[in-house]
């Protein structure tokens, strides 16, 4: 098992960490927002929300208009840079994929950077680093959080679910094998859980088709959870609001599905309610009890 690749600690020097919650974190994925903020507080990391951030465009923008798919993330990145934020945390895997992917493409293609600046009507030098939920949490752990996890959950067997957006795409999974990522493993073990091997770590859950092609989401999400069950898992650990909703809400009752930040928050001794665990559709109380019935 390879150790997790930890990016340089996201705090110190450059000041606050820019926070790009993304739209779902005010609604369907409110527990991701609660648990990220709570975990950052425990670790002493300062999150500063990007003032007036806009939606990244998600799947809809790149499905219908490739200029919009670049211009929307571009505005968010340009705002962060103008507000002096050198590092931006995008805990939602979809936002991370759009922001980071755009940053990489802008760096590679000066023509695109020029067009995006014209479309968005803003300057951007590209001096922003975008961090995922996995990168952020691994950074906090390396920076001292690991030593403060006083309530580990050793009875639990977890499977890390990266899905699409934390495993594939330009710049998404730097240095890791996209077919076999490991960025979540160290953090899950730091929370005291064991990590089980399984087959669906990077399979698709159906993503944004929850309403417009529900039958596909039911099929794909069902297959993910069946494999998790077959592997002997007590819970699935995710970093994506679409994966969470498709597994926790659409497949209600199958298996607890936790954001990585919720799991680490429990291990840090935070209350389930403070982390938003009471807002799940599938009961997560067995996980909160550390696997004891």
């Amino acid at each position: 098992m390879t150790p997790p690749r930890c990016p340089p600690p996201p705090r110190g020097g450059a000041g606050d960490i820019g926070y790009y919650p993304g739209c779902s974190l005010a609604g369907g994925a409110v527990e991701l927002d609660l648990s990220i903020r709570a975990l950052a507080r425990v670790a002493g990391a300062e999150l500063r929300e990007i003032d007036d951030w806009n939606c990244c465009g998600a799947t809809a923008a790149h499905s219908l208009n490739h200029d919009l798919a670049v211009a929307l993330p571009f505005r968010a990145l340009a705002l962060a840079e103008a507000q002096g934020l050198g590092t931006v945390l995008a805990p939602c895997a979809a936002c991370f994929s759009r922001l980071k992917g755009t940053l990489v493409r802008l760096g590679r293609d000066p023509g695109l950077a020029e067009r995006a600046a014209r479309l968005a009507g803003l300057p951007f030098q590209g001096k922003v680093r975008v961090v995922s939920i996995n990168g952020f949490i691994n950074g906090l752990l390396a920076d001292g959080l690991a030593g403060t996890l006083t309530r580990p959950l050793p009875g639990l067997k977890a499977v890390p679910y990266y899905g699409c957006l934390l495993s594939r795409g330009e710049g998404i999974n730097e240095g890791e094998d996209p077919e076999s990522p490991s960025a979540m493993e160290g953090a899950i073990k730091a929370a005291g859980c064991s990590v089980l091997p399984w087959n669906f770590a990077t399979e698709c859950c159906g993503g944004g088709f929850s309403m417009s092609k529900t039958e596909a989401v039911m099929d794909l999400g069902g297959a993910v959870l069946s494999d998790a069950k077959a592997a002997g898992a007590d819970l699935v650990v995710v970093g994506c609001p679409m994966c969470h909703s498709n597994l926790d809400m659409r497949r209600r009752g199958a298996m607890p599905v936790l954001y990585l930040s919720e799991l680490l928050g429990l291990a840090a001794g935070l209350s389930p309610a403070a982390l938003g665990l009471d807002r799940h559709f599938t009961d997560a109380r067995t996980v909160c009890a550390g696997g004891r019935p």
């Binding site: 739209c23 779902s24 005010a26 609604g27 369907g28 994925a29 409110v30 007036d52 951030w53 806009n54 939606c55 465009g57 998600a58 799947t59 809809a60 923008a61 790149h62 499905s63 219908l64 208009n65 490739h66 200029d67 919009l68 798919a69 211009a71 929307l72 505005r75 014209r118 479309l119 968005a120 009507g121 699409c164 594939r168 795409g169 996209p178 077919e179 399979e203 698709c204 159906g206 993503g207 944004g208 088709f209 309403m211 417009s212 092609k213 529900t214 596909a216 794909l220 809400m249 009471d278 807002r279 799940h280 559709f281």
Partner: protein, 186 residues
């Protein structure tokens, strides 16, 4: 960019997506890994093939296919393509063309309605909010009764804010949408 109905499809795809579809040698790896292939009327490798031929009938079949709307954007094909061709970006480009030429498959309309509702919410407020998104989606897809039971459960969990957040820079956002639409028509 010449992307009228008479332009060669492979050229249009190259201009929009930066992918040279003629380099595809039909190994089928994209189709083998595609989680949505079973829902598609054309498999991903067939999409790549039809984009190569230059045949007007193939062009029509592609732009009117359900398959291009079924792509979930999971990037498995792009990750695995031995020719590094990015089929997902090709499909993005085909969807844009299909919509621009009014050729969206009737079976893909619900998916299009969802994307359009999502972007309408963003265009007017700067962010996606569930209430306008779902409201517009139901209106435009005709799927009025879908997920009625989910709403109260979402509300009870604090997952359905009733008043959308409107950002200060919403006129900026509108300008960005207009500029991107102008590009689209150019």
């Amino acid at each position: 960019m010449s992307q009228g109905p008479d332009a060669d499809l492979a050229d249009a795809v190259r201009d929009a997506a930066g992918v040279r579809v003629e380099r595809c040698y039909q190994c089928g790896k994209c189709t083998a890994g595609c989680p949505m292939a079973r829902h598609m009327d054309l498999a991903p490798n067939q999409i790549m093939r039809l984009a190569q031929t230059g045949d007007p009938g193939d062009r029509e079949a592609l732009l009117r296919s359900l398959a291009i709307w079924c792509c979930a954007g999971c990037l498995t094909c792009t990750q695995r393509c031995p020719r590094e061709l990015d089929p997902a970006a090709v499909i993005d480009a085909l969807r844009e063309l299909s919509r621009r030429e009014g050729k969206v498959s009737p079976r893909g309309r619900r998916i299009l309605a969802f994307h359009e509702a999502f972007l309408a919410s963003v265009e007017h407020t700067g962010r996606m909010s569930e209430v306008p998104l779902v409201g517009l989606y139901k209106l435009w897809s005709g799927d009025i009764f879908q997920d009625l039971a989910v709403a109260p459960a979402m509300l009870a969990r604090g997952k359905l804010p009733l008043i959308p957040h409107v950002i200060k820079g919403r006129t900026e956002i509108r300008r960005i949408f207009e500029a991107c639409r102008a590009k689209e028509k150019a």
